[in-house]
């Protein structure tokens, strides 16, 4: 299986201070990758570098065989990458429904389309709050909205950066179930999350970052099973 997303020696940083020191990652089409690591190790930066939100300083990125170098973030996203960003980043001056519609995109051929109804079906709470402004809903509701918003772009690769942060246990469980289902529909995933055991149920692959490098990559199940690995890289 060829990789949908491939990173080779990716380097990036903030204003001259390097954060990524050569990241190599592969996400095969239809696969789910768990990206793990302690706080501040560069997970989010990797995600942003993929989309060009922080300009990479070196290395290569390809998505579906298309080199991403030189492409503007919106072009990259249009290739089929959906982002649930860290910290939600809901648009406060748009209502819940407008948040969902504003950046929605048409599905690719053969894809089962995400629509308002489908998102509301997934998160009935959002339907109840559809006329509320983005900053007038609770933290957890914002998180649901961020997920819904990314789905509405009908992506091929969905990146979830701490997407279950602040969600109640019931909803969280629901999200994991949905992710499994989406994967079943052929969507590829990169999931950053602290719930390691849940991650392992959705993702077959795991990669661990430390100080801006991928220091371990392999099957997720094995990673979780091996208490030594988990404690070495995550300190748990």
């Amino acid at each position: 299986m060829t990789a949908l997303l491939a990173l080779r020696g990716l380097t990036a940083g903030y204003g001259g201070a390097p954060v990524l020191f050569g990241v190599d990652l592969d996400v095969p089409a239809g696969a789910a990758l768990a990206l793990m690591g302690r706080n501040g190790m560069g997970k989010t930066t990797t995600v942003r570098a993929i989309l060009g939100l922080v300009p990479p300083t070196g290395g290569s990125r390809t998505f579906d065989g298309v080199p991403l170098a030189g492409l503007k973030p919106h072009r990259i996203a249009r290739l089929g990458i959906g982002l649930v960003p860290e910290g939600r980043q809901i648009f406060p001056t748009l209502t819940v429904e407008e948040n969902l519609i504003a950046t929605a995109a048409l599905p690719r051929a053969g894809q089962r389309a995400w629509t308002l109804e489908r998102v509301y079906g997934l998160f009935p709470r959002l339907a109840e709050r559809r006329r509320h402004f983005g900053n007038r809903i609770s933290g957890g509701e914002q998180q649901m909205l961020a997920i819904g918003r990314a789905l509405m772009t009908n992506p091929r690769l969905l990146i979830l950066d701490e997407a279950t942060e602040g969600l109640a246990p019931l909803i969280r469980a629901e999200i994991w179930a949905v992710l499994s289902m989406l994967k079943g529909e052929g969507l590829s995933l990169i999931v950053i999350d602290k719930h390691v055991s849940a991650l392992a149920q959705v993702c077959e692959q795991a990669a661990v970052m430390e100080k801006g490098r991928v220091v371990h990559a392999g099957p997720a199940a094995a990673f979780v099973a091996d208490a030594g690995l988990a404690s070495r890289y995550l300190g748990v």
């Binding site: 996203a77 960003p85 648009f91 748009l94 407008e98 950046t103 990314a150």
Partner: protein
């Protein structure tokens, strides 16, 4: 003070308000929605008038000149966006102020060098040069009625654009978090460019439309710019509805203040004191209104949800 006079003055106030709204509309759009303080809006208004002068002279017709002038303003808006405004998105408001102030200096001078410093005129279109008698001895030009219509049209158009269309949603989203919008696959930079140019065109439209009743002269946009800011601040930045209401309020307060304040003051103080204080107070009335509104509603009448 007769009832007719009062009614006529109210009409005048509303009409001044609409004129102000025409100028303020593009400003709210660019400032409120894109979060760019564009001081150059005033000179874009002026440019609209001057382009109209040339366009009407070239074509010999108001109706042919107008689209020509607007197209030119749109093009200039695109150029300005590309050269100066684009690097300023997301930058500090004050840096935007400084850069667009530089544009004011440049354009004012360039206009003077191109068209001279003497006031110029845009002839009133023949079809609209009639008038209706609204009180004994006073005619109301049809053109002003058209101006009111144009203002209402622009107000409606903008309101729909911002609140009802996806473009409006994206603009509002981009104003608070442009990187996120592009991360979700939308070319927000391109959209901003088009909207900025559209705002420039709106300003030019106001200038072109005001030309037949006002004098076209260098610096004509500067004082109006400040008034336009007063309007959008009273209304609440980013709110088209707010700008509209505030423009009418400012127009009314200003007009009624000018018309009646001195007479009213004469009821409570000596005539000479009243005629000294009246006009000064009338000049201040707009600012008093703004200070009062902001005192009770620190984010204007229709604050954006934030």
């Amino acid at each position: 003070m007769t009832l007719t006079l009062l009614l006529v003055q109210i009409l005048n106030g509303l009409q001044l308000g609409i004129l102000l709204f025409l100028v303020a509309a593009g400003l709210t759009l660019v400032f409120g929605v894109m979060d760019v303080i564009n001081l150059a809006h005033g000179v874009q208004y002026m440019l609209g008038a001057y382009l109209m002068v040339t366009a009407t002279a070239l074509t010999g017709s108001f109706w042919l000149g107008l689209p020509l002038a607007l197209a030119a303003a749109l093009a200039l808006g695109l150029v300005l966006e590309r050269l100066v405004i684009r690097p300023l998105y997301g930058r500090d408001h004050l840096e935007q102020v400084l850069a667009t102030f530089g544009i004011i200096l440049f354009v004012n001078e360039a206009v003077k060098m191109t068209w001279g410093s003497a006031p110029l005129a845009i002839p009133m279109p023949e079809a609209l040069s009639g008038s209706v008698r609204i009180m004994d001895g006073l005619n109301y030009p049809v053109y002003r009625l058209v101006l009111i219509g144009a203002g209402l049209l622009v107000a409606g158009l903008l309101y729909v654009l911002v609140t009802r269309t996806r473009t409006g949603m994206l603009l509002r989203a981009g104003a608070t978090n442009a990187p996120m919008v592009s991360a979700l696959g939308v070319d927000i930079a391109g959209l901003f460019a088009r909207i900025f140019a559209f705002g420039a065109m709106l300003a030019a439209f106001a200038g072109a439309m005001a030309g037949p009743i006002l004098s076209v002269e260098p610096g004509m946009g500067d004082g109006l710019l400040i008034l336009a800011f007063v309007v959008i601040v009273i209304g609440g930045i980013g709110s088209i509805r707010g700008a509209f209401v505030a423009a009418l309020m400012v127009g009314l307060i200003d007009t009624l203040g000018r018309s009646f304040l001195t007479d009213i003051l004469k009821l409570v103080m000596s005539a000479s004191a009243a005629s000294a204080a009246g006009p000064a107070l009338a000049s201040m009335s707009v600012y008093l209104l703004m200070a009062l509104v902001l005192f009770f509603r620190p984010r204007g009448l229709f604050p954006a949800p934030a």
